[in-house]
């Protein structure tokens, strides 16, 4: 007979290696949580999955009118609608994932207080789910590129790398906010401001080229800067993000993520008591 699984429960935090193995053991639950969110997402809406297109598209129209046309913000030589839409696809993903991640634990209160499973799965599912919308929205970008005659080039191969960076950035910030939200419901009120400020600190409506050279390193600490510059470069051929910027973004994501996982795991055992 095989050795039985032995579970030790005590006042301390579980070992890191055990946590990894446990996440793996529950991988199918992650799949089901994402699957549930996708199934339920557009239930009882008239337009259904079209919302995945409408959100970035409508924002693109508004941006093109106000920033592109009226304010005359430069767009690195690419038609402004394509320029902004190429950024709005990853940005919409990021803001949806972050908002979803932040409210994921408090929204799963009944699950957390009644059944055990690795809590990390809850924000992870919330961060993975909007990827489907992003893929749909990316389809419309292809249409826009054909319409405006913007060719794609070999940097397209780098796109998955920037997409992964976006997911990691959303996970890093999402874990912090999700865990904080369990105890401090202030997070709910902070989210709209945070997302708005973060968007202005990210080259969504404008190109990085208008940021003074001296500030680019600091600017790059915002990982979404590299994500969006990377998306534009690999999709519509704007200038590539600088090496310093990529390095700054990667380092900040790794640090934020490590801190997020640490904080999350530290708070995890008290979620059921506090939530």
């Amino acid at each position: 007979m095989a050795d039985p699984i032995v579970t030790v429960i005590d006042a301390g935090v579980r070992m890191r290696s055990a946590a990894g193995r446990e996440l793996w053991a529950f991988r199918e639950l992650l799949y089901f949580l994402v699957w549930r969110d996708l199934k339920v997402r557009y239930k009882q809406t008239v337009l259904g999955a079209a919302w995945a297109l409408i959100q970035p598209f409508a924002t693109m129209v508004v941006f093109s009118l106000f920033f592109g046309r009226l304010a005359g913000i430069p767009s690195d030589g690419v038609p402004y609608p394509v320029f902004s839409y190429a950024a709005l696809v990853p940005w919409t993903y990021f803001s949806t994932a972050l908002a979803g991640g932040a409210s994921s634990l408090t929204g799963s209160q009944h699950l957390i207080s009644k059944v055990y499973f690795p809590r990390l799965l809850v924000p992870m599912a919330a961060i993975i789910t909007p990827l489907v919308d992003a893929v749909i929205a990316l389809g419309l970008l292809v249409v826009l590129m054909v319409w405006f005659g913007v060719p794609a080039g070999w940097p397209l191969l780098w796109l998955p790398g920037f997409a992964i960076l976006a997911v990691l950035a959303a996970t890093a910030a999402g874990l912090w906010l999700a865990a904080l939200n369990v105890k401090y419901r202030d997070v709910r009120y902070v989210m709209p401001f945070l997302l708005q400020f973060w968007m202005f600190a990210t080259p969504v409506a404008y190109p990085t080229s208008i940021v003074p050279e001296a500030w680019r390193g600091v600017y790059g600490l915002n990982p979404m800067v590299t994500v969006i510059e990377g998306f534009r470069w690999s999709l519509i051929g704007t200038p590539a993000p600088s090496v310093e910027m990529v390095v700054a973004s990667s380092v900040s994501v790794v640090l934020l993520l490590a801190g997020g996982v640490w904080y999350f795991r530290r708070m995890e055992s008290s979620f059921a008591d506090v939530i």
Partner: protein, 409 residues
């Protein structure tokens, strides 16, 4: 190496009362830090607010052998749920440790994670995954689950259109097919109709007979005695008895049958100070049987003169549904005006109740205003008597026994 499936050593859980309040908001947390800093700098001044804490569970140690079916009983707030939550790893203990050997399936609530918008079929998969089953495993058991729940026709209907009975049946069916080595069950059976409750208990019995270990929290004393091989009695967070179910239930009921209320000394309204079960002679009745009269006695304190105070009792069934109420008014009696202490006894005639669990509610009122309501004052479990004349078995349908007059023409 011990063969115990579950080993618990000195387990304790402390809760801060009003956990969210003292530091729930960032503002208060920040204010707290500022005060803390001021205190450190000044060395005195602002006293530190100490949040009141309680031990929901303290110093609990026991072992459960593999294949044992343990009934965990105790009154409200005895720590039963806290214990299950710790063993299910939902919350972590403040002190002590527990070791569990084998795959754990815990069922603290029926239908955890059911999503109203999803169909029955989809919820089976989702709920199964939440309880720890793999996709292949759920596929394999799917037909058995649907069959058990008796919802074949509606399996592709969103569960928000289900009746509550169907919902509960499906939810229990998923959990019942979890097949863990160690099953932890809370009072999930307090839902659903009697027929389905019986089916659920049967399933738990089946699991137990399959040689698996079961930890079963219940208020259903009959079920605990029938299904469990041993029992643990908790009282105010401490383990007070561990052993034979019959003995544990007897001890629990003898404690439960008599409840003292610590009334505030400043109380001027009449109140029920004590309530208990008594036999025909007025002596204590630890094990009421349905073939004998059951007396429900209340000791009422009237601190001041309170003319016109009325008193009545209510008997509720185990699930909280009122069975009947009765008051002194019914028979034209009135309480003396007081001040003083009086005992009042309502006698339920023999052959009225069926075997089962009941709660007793006492109520004092004046004009139309309730002055004291104990809900419930106490609970008791009535057993089948030994009388051969009246074979009133536990399987009988209905809520009460009525002594009908029969005629054959």
């Amino acid at each position: 190496m011990s063969a115990a499936a579950v080993t618990v050593q000195g387990l304790g859980k402390q809760y801060t009362l009003g956990a969210a309040a003292p530091e729930g908001h960032l503002r208060e947390r920040l204010a707290g830090s500022v005060l803390g800093l001021a205190r450190r700098l000044g060395g005195r001044g602002v006293p530190r607010a100490v949040a009141p804490t309680i031990w929901a569970l303290r110093d609990v140690s026991f072992e459960v052998a593999s294949g044992e079916v343990v009934g965990i009983i105790g009154g409200n707030g005895a720590g039963k749920s806290t214990l299950l939550k710790i063993l299910s790893r939902i919350t972590s203990p403040t002190e002590g440790r527990a070791e569990i050997r084998g795959r754990v399936g815990s069922l603290l609530e029926v239908g955890t994670g059911f999503h109203p918008e999803l169909t029955g079929r989809e919820n089976v998969f989702l709920n199964g995954a939440i309880l720890g089953m793999g996709r292949a495993e759920i596929h394999r058991k799917f037909d058995a689950i649907v069959d058990f729940a008796e919802v074949e026709r509606f399996i592709d209907t969103p569960v928000k259109y289900y009746s509550s009975g169907m919902y509960v049946r499906l939810a229990f069916a998923v959990a019942a097919h979890l097949e863990p080595e160690i099953l932890i069950v809370d009072e999930v059976l307090a839902v659903g109709d009697a027929k389905f409750q019986k089916k659920c208990l049967g399933k738990i019995g089946e699991v137990a007979q399959g040689g698996r270990t079961v930890l079963f929290v219940s208020h259903n004393m009959a079920a605990v005695q029938r299904l469990c091989t041993t029992a643990a009695l908790l009282e105010k967070g401490r383990l007070v008895f561990r052993g034979e179910p019959r003995a544990a239930v007897a001890r629990y009921l003898s404690d439960e049958g008599r409840v003292r209320y610590i009334a505030a000394s400043a109380k001027t309204e009449p109140y029920v100070a004590e309530a208990e079960l008594v036999d025909a002679q007025g002596g204590p009745l630890p094990r009421p049987v349905i073939t004998e009269p059951i007396g429900l006695r209340a000791t009422i304190h009237l601190p001041d003169a309170a003319p016109g105070t009325r008193f009545g009792i209510g008997v509720l069934m185990a699930d909280g549904i009122p069975l009947f109420t009765s008051s002194l008014d019914d028979v034209g009696l009135t309480l003396p005006a007081g001040p003083g202490t009086i005992t009042v006894t309502a006698v339920v005639p023999a052959h009225t109740l069926l075997a089962g669990d009941y709660h007793v509610v006492t109520c004092l009122w004046h004009a139309r205003e309730i002055v004291d309501l104990q809900e419930p004052a106490f609970s008791f479990s009535a057993a089948t008597g030994d009388s051969a004349l009246y074979r009133i078995d536990a399987e009988r349908k209905g809520a009460v026994h009525v002594n009908c007059r029969w005629e054959i023409a």
